[in-house]
Symmetry: C2
Subunit: 120 residues, 2 copies
């Protein structure tokens, strides 16, 4: 039983385990910070409080981003994609978004970059 507005709950297409991925983007810079997971309750709490709240698949519990690290995410916008199966959160990020201490979870590992003209 969640407080997710019915109009939202109806549009949401969840995976087999009841989750949708949430892309977290920094509002001011446009940087993609991380990917997290929402169930109905986490989305309802995020919409209600404006504090990014996720479902941890490994710990099997809700977590409010920043609750232990202090690196809060204050939500500016919550968007749903055309298929209803992905959420985009635009946030104000306090401190590092990544648990490694980096600003984003994508800073460290560049698999490949392409020159503009070197692509087939």
């Amino acid at each position: 039983m969640t407080d997710l507005p019915p109009a939202v709950a109806e549009r949401l297409k969840r995976s087999a385990d009841g989750l949708v991925p949430a892309i977290v983007q920094e509002h001011s810079t446009g940087e993609v910070l991380m990917l997290a997971w929402l169930d109905d309750e986490a989305l309802a709490r995020t919409l209600e409080t404006g504090r990014a709240t996720y479902w941890s698949r490994s710990r099997k519990e809700y977590w409010v981003k920043g609750e232990t690290s202090g690196h809060h995410q204050r939500v500016r916008e919550v968007r749903l994609d055309c298929d209803g199966d992905t959420v985009l959160l635009k946030v104000d990020q306090e401190g590092a978004a990544c648990h490694t201490g980096r600003h984003t979870c994508f800073d460290a590992d560049l698999l490949k970059s392409f020159d503009e003209d070197a692509r087939t």
Copy 2:
């Protein structure tokens, strides 16, 4: 059997169905365009060709973005996150990224926006 470099294949953490989500971001604007899915083969093809190539969960086939629509995604960077379970593709987007004709899949459906001071 794919041509995915072993160093990448080792770091990749796939879901139970062998997939990782790929966040697709426009290189020039920073806009988040869409979320798609990669298996090892799709990632290998993307790294090899520089053309964004995904696994369609509904059609159960590979698709090169733009092959039917003409709305190609030329890859500029491929990044892996700190946990190895999400890919970030920075692309040059030709035309609309969304099959609805909108520039991004997140343009149409704003669930909520917060004033900077109205958050708890």
